[in-house]
Structure formats: structure tokens, C-alpha cells
Assembly symmetry: D2
Homo-oligomer: 345 residues x 4
């Protein structure tokens, strides 16, 4: 059994990890650490675990004292908070999977510009592997420090990489119009996330300035083998979960929808979690699963291509992909503990 | 492996069965039958199964022709539609689990009065076992025809039985104020179930006339060993899933909340799926699970007791309990395939 | 023109007052006071007023300095906060309409027991008039200090008063099972009110202990001319607005649904805002209006009566009734500024 | 008083007209016509009118017989259904405001290609005036046949026209990613519009094939004085009302966000209903109003401009704009009956 610890276990990504790991046949969680709920029973915060998880949340200090007992540490903290604990864990030989942004960007400068936080572990940036599993399995298998992708980046990079790898779109034409459920804002008490403020409304936010932009660009640039910049517009949708990323590009060749469906099916042919649809995705069909549904449409009138991807932001966009990466890092079957189908309705 | 067939597989209860049985380690589904979607691929109706279930729905006629291949038949049809297929299946030695109302009431007359449908299989009523699992395991184990309880009855009977078995409340005082998500109305195209008609509103419906009333009274009367009548008010709540049943009774003794929590914990001490809370239930904590959460409060000022139970109407209130009953009928561990914890948020 | 001031103008009840008074033909708002948003433009908090209300919120201190300029002060503060400002305003001859609880209960002791706050203006309790408009117009017309009812009390007292005035139900049998939208919890940043915590769930809360209980009992006792105690269970429903109060009582006479509809229609025959339905109410049909819809059903089997009332918690349950009372206090037509019909869908 | 008739009065657009006209000081509605609800009381379908509108819906035949009594006819029917009634009304000197698509496109061929319906009143196309009020007041003032714009076109054309009139963006670069509430799908009983199918999900639909595309292109081409084609992707959002249209274009000049805000403010300086924001729009702030909120952002990194507009799809996107146009056609003040501010929350 793999022994795991979770830092930030009571936020939504942390809770989602708890949910997945509780059912994972090869993992035992040794501790649940929480800043706000230390010394409180986990199932008092999340009553779904009533009768199942009887652990009491521990403080970060207690968590640190237990690092030597575990094999893998999951970190689900706000940006700028993972440096010290990561260094401590790695020093003890514990593999680290960070669900936050602290090790995703290769460039310290880019990180500091977008996150407005000093990067305190620059030396680790070279070791960190960006864990978009389908695109990076080999490096993931060998890494000790895994930077788990953001939710918008996961949906968007999966949607656009086949086009860019095959040089099919004008790289100056890319627009990403993404929509997220409210859990993307986390479990912090803020007026903007109140039911009454989010319900019955949609809005764009952080237009042309969202922190996930450089992460998407970094990975798309690698796929394209040249520098890619995108226009990225996130929106907040009145639902708990889900990301729909509607991606646009100007085609450089004369291709049909069917051509691209074939190309995508081939590109992802060995990827259990990626489904290329004949039609269009809806977030409900992937909710609660680690799947990514992708729909493709060529607009012949304008010669633009529209790629639409749907994921569950907390699963494939956070905790599920983290477990998928853990499975690879520990030599397990990639799908272990993740063979979940969305529940309807 | 148990071979199963599902009649009515594309309604919400049927789909939920599909979802549970797909993951069940001891069951293979041999056919999915659907009146409206015969000859259509199951995953075109429910895209969550894209890449997983490749079956094509069959008509009732085709389903009947396959009865001899299966061990158990699940029926999820509107009331009055299960008689013929049940008789055919039983005649072939197939065990039948009916998720509808056709075999729940012991009395043909009561059935016909409340359902306004002629009962065509009166002779089977004596064989049918009412499958509220926790209260009836012995009979379930031996039965061939299982009448799976309704959603409101499941929540309500579990909430009130310990009080009635122990003669603690005035049986003329019982009021059940229940609240259901919209999936309880099924997957029929009706204006009343449109998003725009249900969203941002709550209403009571079928006040003092809902068809689940005699089913609840039948089982509560058995618990009380005398004739019980209730006032039952169902409400429609703008959410997909969940039932919360708020039950009121006038206490006959001077008891505290703590006394009753102890009594309920003892009553349900061997029941994996029943959790007696210290606090109050919320439907989200049981959503997607086969659990029933029960909260208890004595109002000392009025000497009334309030018992509040929460279930997922499609799982413990329909498909989950059907699988739980199947497990017992086939000698499997009761929880097989049902060890699901609600996903938050 | 009546000159008005609003204390607590940026909470939901205060904002709703702003909305109503902005359109009111006989009122000018002289200041909007806000603790959290002093010195911020009102329309930056509530963008619906962009281009309409250009005022900047003022602090309580500034508000106090402007009391001598106004004719009426609306107070929408948490309990225990209205005492001082009320005394100051009354001393200057300003009429006060308090939307909070500080002057609703006749008994200082009862107030302190339920609200856990010391009552600092006991001497004013005798002057305060409880403003359930339809039941109290004469006193309202003459008062200087109006205690505007709570949302649950408004819906519940309107539903039950005709029964109690006519001595039709057993006063020991009353159960009130009420359901509220999330705006009832106010605009405070709390985790329990997050979209992700409220959406897709229903729960009961404050069972047998909600602070609106003594207010309801006080008024029902007056209607019954004897001491009434109720069992009151509020629930939180995933919608922004609306209260549905489902009230139960044991009939003392043999009455039909039709008898009671007639009785209610007669009781409220002069009340523009009260509509006695042939069918059942839904909160959406009164949303945004000052109306109260009431549906009635006798359960002949159990001889219980079920009265269901629906209001908009922020309008008839707060700001709308406050304006209705102001209209009466200032000799205007009662419906001025309140002739609003719910918008569908 | 203007005498009006409504054809299609029980659909959502028709109901919204009813709501607005009931409050309009210069209009009396002479009849409410409904195909599905003829001979049924209007307030039994929409209970919000209980006690207010006591009319019984009439059939189309009855409506036709009353045409000579009215001054203006509002038609809110599915596409292809307005031809005959329009001709009859115009022949009697009744002004017609059609909320459907039958007279919006100048070209019969384009209409028939996108709507798959034969156009039966080609001769009227020359008379019809496209009623995007802010852009076309002069023609509206003189017309007898007004083609009221679609919801997506209203939001999108208002967002993009100032850019195109000023030749600021590459006309081959325009992408419109729009999001609508479910009321856009109308009040038809369809499974796709059920609460349980729409709630907790977002999807794109009719990608690169939505019928509003040619209408948007027709008007943008007029603004640009050259042929404009757009890529248009509508999405369905789990809310009752609202459209957010996120529009992208590649800037041809070096302009800042502030430059464009100034330009838009100047462009719409005489338009009561258009508000150019400093920040970003949210549909909730215009819900229930005839307003259009527009937010602007230049992405300096990619030199794209993002214009985001928010309207209420049933008001500025349908019935409100129809009333706005009627006001102009009848010489009333443009804002009469439309001075509504969104209700929060």
C-alpha cells in the first residue's frame, strides 16, 4: 500500500482527493492536514464521510512531523504556499504532487509576474514535471515532484494540442472562451461566491489577465514548437462543477470536421480518459469522472475550427489527474481508482 | 455472474440501475429495454457511457424473447405496466425486482383506488415482498418477486419506524412534510418539469392525495401493529436529486433528543446504510449514495418529535435499494456495488 | 415628497428597500448608510443601479448627522443594533421603520432569551407597533415606531390567523414547516451560504429553536386569544428568493376545502396583496412582488387542514411590507409603489 | 390609449409582452391569443396574474376577427407562422411588430436556407424594418411592419457595431461566443429543456449553424459597409434568463481599453438603455430590465479586443425591445413602460 498525506485536505480539491483516495485500492491516507480545521473531525466538515472517515484534521506542523511515514504527499494550497513543505518532503524521499501553481511554470520570472508572489524554490523548477498525463507520461513516470495542471489548462491543452502538433492553425488566431462552475473559486467565504451572488447569472472575469494563461501558453508553445500566445476569457457559470473550454483557431488547411475527428481519435487512441465525440460535449456527462470529452466542428464558412472540451474541474482538472499521475509515478495501472462514470441526471 | 435485464432502462430510475450494475462486480446486464428509444444506442441517450456501454436499446418484445437468458429482471415502468412482463418472467424462473408501484400494496382495492388502474395480477400480490431492505431482510432473501419501495416511502418509513415499533408517538399526530428533487418527476417531456418552470421556486403538490400515501401507511401500520394514517405533503425543490422527509409526531413519553438518538442508533445498529446523525441531514451528503441520514430533535416546548431523513431518491429511493435487495436475493454481501460515498460539492 | 434614510442599505433587505423606494413616486432617499461599504458608490456594489443611483454610501455617523433632514428612517441591521439609532431618530421626530427584530416582541425577556442580546430600549417596546399590515392597519396608521415583521412570521401568521380567529383548529396541533431561499441568510460572507454549499441540496436548520418562533407565537396567540405554541421547522432551499410556509392544524369541526377557501376569501376580502387560490401556491408566482398567495386543503382522511402560503421573503417578508407600512403611516394609498407582478419565468 | 393584440401570448416572449403591457400607461391589450391554451384563463397558466388579468385566451381565429379593433399587433410565434396574420393585420391598417424571424432577413433565399421554411410574404420584406432600436430609430418611427431582433443578435450587434462603424477590427477575425439562459429555448415540452437535463451543466449547441448567424451578419455588414462573416457559438447555461455575448476581434490599430470605452460611451451617449461599464457585465444586473450592459477589454499581449454585452433575452432581447419599438412607432417617449431596474439578488 502507498502511504499518502494530504495538505489542504478541506478545500474542494483536497476533499476531492480524499474522496478518490478513500476508494483507491492501493493507497492509505495517513493524515489529512488543514489550516482552518485542525483538530476538527474530517466528517464534521464533510458529513458525507459520516461513518466512514473518522480521522481528525491535523495542523501543518503535525503533518510535517509525519512526512517520514509516507510515500507521497499531495499539496492543495493557494499559490505561494507549497515551497517549504515541498522541499521538506523531497528531502525525506517523499514524492510530491502539488495541485497548486507553484511548480507549473518553468520560468521563475513568469511565475512571479502572474502570481505576484516570490518564488522561493527556484532550484526545484528544473525537477518539476508538468503532469498533463496524456502528453507527458514518460517524464511523469520518473519524477519526484509533479506539478499538477490547473483546471482551465487541462481542458484547453487537451483540446488544442493535436492541432498545434500538426501545425494546422494560425498560432496568432487562438481564442479560448472557457466556462467554469463555482467550485473553481474554492471553499473560501467570499461574497462573490455566495449562492445569491452566483445563481441565475453568468459573467466573464479576469479577462486577458487570468493566471492560467502562461501555463496554457507554455504547454501550447511546446506542442507548436514555437511561441504561442492566446486570448483567454474565463467565465463563471451557476453550477457546482465542470469546465467547458470553447477553443477557436483559424485553419491553415482545408479540413472537414470528419478529418479532424479522425485526427483527434488517432492522437488520443491510447488514452482511456479522452473521448472524441461525434457530437458536442456537455459538462454533465463527465461530472464526477476523470474523463475529458472533446467535440470538434469546422466552420466552413469562415474556415475556423471550434474545439470544445469538457472536464470536471475538480477531477480531471485537479484531484483525479493527481491520482492518475500518482498511479504512473508508483507503477500502478493508470486508471486505478479512477474508473468512474458520470452519474445522470 | 448474475445475468440481468432492465425494462425501462432509459428513464431516470432505469439509468441509475444501469450505472450501478455497470460497476457491480457480480452482474452482467444482458439487455437494456426501452419503449421510446428502442434500436438507439444507449450511450447516445446518456453520453456519460460514451466508450463504455456500446449496447443498443431493445424493444419490450425483444426483451421478452431474452427472458430465458437471465436470472433477474429489473422493471422500471410507470404504474400499471409491470403485470404481464412480471408474470412471464416469473414463469421462466426469473426473479423480478419491480421498481414501480404495481406490487407494493397488499390490497388490490387500495391499489386501484389510488392508482386509478386495474390490477391485473392480483394472484401475485401474496408472493410479492416489500423491499425496504433494513426492515425486511428475511423475506427478501427468499422471494422471487420483490416490490421495491417508492422514494418518499423509503425516507419516511425509515424515519418513523423506530418510533412506532416502540409505541412512542400518538399515531393520529403524524405529519410528513417531504421535499424532492425534480428527477422524481421522471424523464418525461412535460412543461411542469422544464428548467424554467422549476428553477427558483418551491411548491407543494398532490397535497393529501399523493399515491405514496397508502404505501407509507401500510408499512407504518405494520410497525405500529395498528392502523396508521398520515398527513403527507410532498414538495418539489429546484435540485436534480434528493429527498428530505421532515416527519412530526406528538410524543407519548417524556424523552430527550439524546434518548431518541440512542434508540435509533440501537435500532439501526446493524445497518450499514443508515446513519443516525448528531446534527441534521442535508440531501447533498447522501447524493449519489445508497445511504440514509437521519437527524432527530425533540421540541421540548411542544413535546413533539421531529425526525428528518435524507436519501438520494434515485439510489436508496429506487435503483440502489433495488440492487441492495438483489444482493440479498442472490446471497451476495448486501453492500456489494453500493459502497459509494456522496461526492462534494 | 417624503424624505427617507436607509441604515443598512447594502444588505439584501436594504437593497430591496432601495429598489422599491427608487421607483416610489412619493419618496426621495436622502442617504444610503452602510457599515461595510461607507464611502463606496452604491452602484459599484449593486451594478443594476449603474446610470441610475449615483450616491455614495455613508457611514452610520454621517447618517446620524442627517437625521434631522428626513421624515422616515428605515433600519435594516442585525438584531441588537437598532436601539441607539432608533432613539435618536424618534427624538428628532423622525418616524422609524425597523426591519430587524429589535422591537417585534412585546416582552424584553422573551427577546433576550431568543436573541441572546440585551434589550437596551425597553421603554420603546410599548410604543412599537407590529407591522403585519393586513392585521394591524389602525395601529400602524398612528405609530412612530414600526416593527416590521420577519419573513417566516409574515407568511405563517397570514396563513394561520383566519383559522385561529375563528377557533377552528386545536391550538396544540400547529406545525409550521417552512422553506426559504438563500437570501434569507443575508449578504454575509459565510461558507454555509456559498453557492457550492447550498446548490443541489435541501436541509432543515434551527429546528425547534429558530428566533422567529416567539414572534409567530405572539401574534397567533393574539389571534386565538389564548396562548399558542407551535412547532416550527425552517428549511433552506437552493433558490435566491421566496418563502413557502406549509402549516398544519387539526380541525375542530367538519369543514371542507371549499368552506375554508370561502372563509379565507372573506377574511382577506379588502386586502389587495393577499390572494386565496383555488389551487396551490408556488413561490415563483409572487417573486419580486408584495403579494401573498395562500392555498388551502383539508385532508378528510385525517381531518387535518394544510394551509400553504407563499411570499417573496425580501418584499412582503421585508422591504415591501416596510413600504406598505410607510404608505399607511404617511397617509398614502397602501399600494403605492408596490403594484408589482411577479416576472415569469 | 393604444389598443394591442398579442398572438402567441402564452409562450415566454408573449408572456413577457403581457407583463410589460399590463403596466404600460398608454396601452390596453384587447386580446391574448394562444394556440395551445385557447379558452383557458390566462392566469391559470401564469398564476402571477391571479387577481390581475382575468382574460381568457382566444384562438387565432378569434384573434383575426378582432384585428379591426386594434392599433398594433404583436406576434410571438415560431418561424414560418407569421406570414398570413401579418398580411391580414397590415391590410386593416394595424401596425405589426413581429418578435419572430420571419421578416428580419432582407433576403428570401437566406431566410429559406437557414430556416428551412418557405417564405410566403416576400413582397413584405422590403417594408419590414429591423428593429434594433438604438441603430435604426428613424426607420422604426415610420414603419408599419417591424421585425423585432433576436436575442443573440441584439446583444451581439450592440457589442460590435461601434467597432465596425469605425473600421477598427479585421472583419475576418470576429468570433462570437454567446451564452443564454434556458428560457431562450421557449416553453415547449422537450426533454432537452427539462430541469434535470439542463441543471448543473453547460454545453455549446448549433455550433457554426445557429439561425441567428445570418441576422447578425446582415446587420454587422451594414455597419461595416462590407460583407462580414462571423463564427458564432451559442451555449446553454443553467439559469432562466440572460444572454452574455463575448465578442472577439483583432484590432487594426493600437488602442487601449480606455480609448474604446470612450468611443463606446460617445457612440451610445443618447441611448438610455445602453450602459458602458468600467468593469465587466453580469447578466444578473440587467435581468428583468431593457438594459444592455457592455464591458470592454483590450488584450495588449495579442492585440485582440473583447467586447462583452449582457441583456435579458426576454426583454431587451424580445418583448422589451418590441415595446421600445412600439413606443417609437406611436410617438411615445421611448422609455415609457420600460424604466425597470434589475432586482437583486
Amino acid at each position: 500500500m502507498i502511504k499518502a498525506g494530504i495538505i489542504g485536505a478541506t478545500g474542494y480539491a483536497g476533499e476531492q482527493l480524499t474522496w478518490l483516495l478513500y476508494k483507491h485500492p492501493e493507497v492509505n491516507v495517513e493524515f489529512y492536514s488543514s489550516h482552518n480545521y485542525a483538530d476538527i473531525k474530517y466528517n464534521e466538515i464533510y458529513n458525507n464521510y459520516n461513518g466512514f472517515i473518522e480521522d481528525i484534521c491535523v495542523s501543518l506542523e503535525v503533518a510535517i512531523s509525519k512526512l517520514s511515514n509516507i510515500n507521497v504527499l499531495f499539496i492543495a494550497l493557494p499559490s505561494g504556499k507549497a515551497f517549504e513543505i515541498t522541499e521538506k518532503a523531497l528531502a525525506l524521499g517523499v514524492k510530491v504532487i502539488d495541485l497548486g501553481a507553484d511548480f507549473r511554470l518553468k520560468s521563475k520570472e513568469v511565475y512571479e509576474e502572474w502570481y505576484k508572489v516570490k518564488h522561493e524554490s527556484e532550484k526545484l523548477l528544473g525537477n518539476a514535471v508538468y503532469g498533463l498525463t496524456e502528453l507527458n507520461r514518460k517524464a511523469i513516470k520518473q519524477c519526484n515532484l509533479l506539478a499538477n495542471p490547473g483546471c482551465y489548462p487541462t481542458a484547453t491543452i487537451l483540446a488544442l494540442t493535436p492541432l498545434l502538433k500538426n501545425n494546422l492553425i494560425d498560432i496568432n488566431s487562438i481564442i479560448v472562451d472557457a466556462k467554469s462552475g463555482v467550485s473553481g473559486a474554492g471553499r473560501a467565504a467570499s461574497i462573490g461566491s455566495l449562492f445569491t451572488e452566483c445563481n441565475e447569472s453568468i459573467k466573464a472575469y479576469a479577462v486577458a489577465s487570468h493566471r492560467h494563461t502562461p501555463e496554457i501558453e507554455q504547454e501550447l508553445s511546446m506542442a507548436a514548437s514555437e511561441n504561442v500566445m492566446i486570448t483567454f476569457t474565463p467565465h463563471l457559470v451557476p453550477m457546482n462543477r465542470g469546465i467547458l473550454s470553447t477553443c477557436y483557431g483559424a485553419l491553415k488547411k482545408d479540413l472537414t470536421t470528419e478529418d479532424l475527428i479522425d485526427l483527434y481519435r488517432d492522437f488520443y487512441k491510447d488514452d482511456y480518459f479522452i473521448k472524441i465525440l461525434n457530437g458536442l460535449p456537455e459538462t454533465r456527462w463527465v461530472r464526477g469522472s476523470n474523463l475529458c470529452h472533446i467535440g470538434i466542428k469546422v466552420d466552413k464558412r469562415t474556415n475556423k475550427v471550434i474545439i470544445i472540451s469538457a472536464i470536471d474541474n475538480l477531477i480531471k482538472g485537479a484531484a483525479g489527474q493527481a491520482v492518475q499521475n500518482m498511479n504512473i509515478m508508483f507503477g500502478l495501472k493508470e486508471t486505478t481508482g479512477l474508473e468512474i462514470i458520470a452519474m445522470a441526471p
